[in-house]
Amino acid sequence: MKRTLALIALGLFAPMVQGAMVPFLPRGACPDAGLLLVIAIGLSLRATGMGVALTAGVGFVADLLSGALLGSHAFLWMLAFGVARFTSLHVNLKGPFMQIALAASLTVGAALGLAGLTAFFGSAGGHSLVAPVELLRQVIANGLTAPFAIASISWLVARLSDDGGPRMLRIDPRGYTS
């Protein structure tokens, strides 16, 4: 219960804090707190159902605090959660490099997904939403902060957990979690 409340509070306040910090940094240089939280939840929370529900909640908060269509972040981040979960079952994500690679790929995927959804619903006028330079900045910012975010959320989940702590990230070659 405590763990769930803590994650809900993080999901609610992380995008708000990010929204206040964005004006002081170059466009795209502020790490996407919501996406990082989703990745971290995907890798560290045992209960998948709760993870999906939390992800949807964080996504809707991000939608409300951005110019995106309501539901677009929620939709894409649920997919990102699924990808993070699936990857963690098949790839050893214990080291920072793999976590950076995962966060970077999901950043690109989420950005292109948002651009695609916005274009599909006819909201953007001619221009692609995603500028390459800004995307590069965002990939670097999210990639560099991902290991810290994952470690922090894992620590939080372990600390407040009542079901045996966080999921183990390391997978041995035979596929058994260690």
Binding site: A20, M21, V22, D32, S66, G67, A68, G71, G125
Partner: protein, 299 residues
């Protein structure tokens, strides 16, 4: 059996949440097309909570930026002071001549009367946060429905047009900035009266699409709102043309425009507390009301 039930429940949960997200997008798109939306309490509460949180978080950053700006300003203050004195003298001279001309023609009095007649009430609002996504250009204001702010109302600053209110809660409002890729404003070149559509482009700039005629648009031209489209009042400053991309083969030309408003330093804005006629009609239709203006027979 238990595992099967869990799996079915999980499948329904995921499908349900994805479905809700998709339906939300469709509903939101329709709402934006009909003048924006008043958020229900459960989602409006997020904006209401965000306002004080973002104000609080911004305090130390604002402090650091102010100190840095003051230091930077001190470095070149003497040269700037001299340049400003020269410019002030020129402008005072120019201002005097213009006043003379206006008074002489008796227009000053008439302009003052017109101003009283057409003045739109405005509400000052503080910009407390910007878009959490790097790909959109929205902002959060600390004024909402309880202050008279509703979706579809234009937002300006002392420099020019800022954007449009797209969603409101009890104590906050979300605005789509002029530089957002989803924004489109009917604009006119002040000098030549060439009309076109102004859209948000990359790098916080604007793009003006217009039907080309020789010499209609030049670098340095001032772009203002045309008033057509019924969303924004006529005559609000949009920006200045910085580059014209002329291609003889195409009928539609584009020009790059530097916004009059510095969106990176925007803090205080004014919400025009009256929707344009198109927005009013769209909004009323979406609410199921027919506005008085639409019911009134055309004489």
């Amino acid at each position: 059996m238990f595992e099967f039930r869990t799996r079915v429940f999980f499948a329904f949960l995921v499908a349900g949440l994805l479905g809700i997200a998709l339906v939300s997008m469709v509903v939101d798109r329709r709402a934006l097309g009909s003048g924006g939306r008043e958020l229900p309490w459960w989602s409006g509460a997020v904006l209401d909570v965000a306002v004080p949180v973002q104000k609080m978080v911004a305090v130390p950053f604002d402090f650091a930026r102010d100190r840095w700006t003051q230091y930077g300003a001190l470095v070149g203050v003497r040269q700037q002071n001299e340049a400003l004195h020269d410019r002030l003298a020129t402008l005072e001279e120019e201002n005097l001549q213009l006043r003379e001309a206006l008074v002489a023609s008796g227009r000053l009095e008439r302009i003052a009367e017109m101003r009283d007649e057409f003045e739109i009430p405005m509400l000052p609002a503080e910009l407390v946060g910007v878009d959490v996504s790097a790909w959109f250009r929205a902002a959060l204001l600390d004024r909402g429905r309880e202050h008279g702010v509703h979706s579809g109302m234009p937002v300006i600053s002392e420099d020019g047009l800022v954007g449009l209110v797209t969603a409101t809660s009890r104590g906050a409002a979300k605005i789509m900035l002029l530089i957002d890729a989803q924004s489109a404003v009917d604009g006119v070149i002040q000098r030549s009266r060439a009309r076109g559509i102004v859209r948000g482009a990359r790098d916080d700039a604007l793009e003006f699409e217009f039907v080309a005629r020789q010499g209609d648009v030049r670098v340095g031209d001032e772009l203002i709102t045309s008033g057509l489209g019924g969303v924004y009042p006529k005559g609000l400053r949009i920006g200045e043309v910085t580059e014209v991309e002329a291609s003889e083969d195409e009928m539609m030309h584009t020009a790059k425009v530097r916004p009059a408003v510095d969106f990176g330093r925007l803090e205080l804005v004014f919400v025009m507390l009256r929707r344009g006629p198109t927005m009013e009609l769209l909004y009323a239709t979406a609410q199921g009301d027919v506005p008085e203006a639409a019911e009134r027979p055309v004489p």
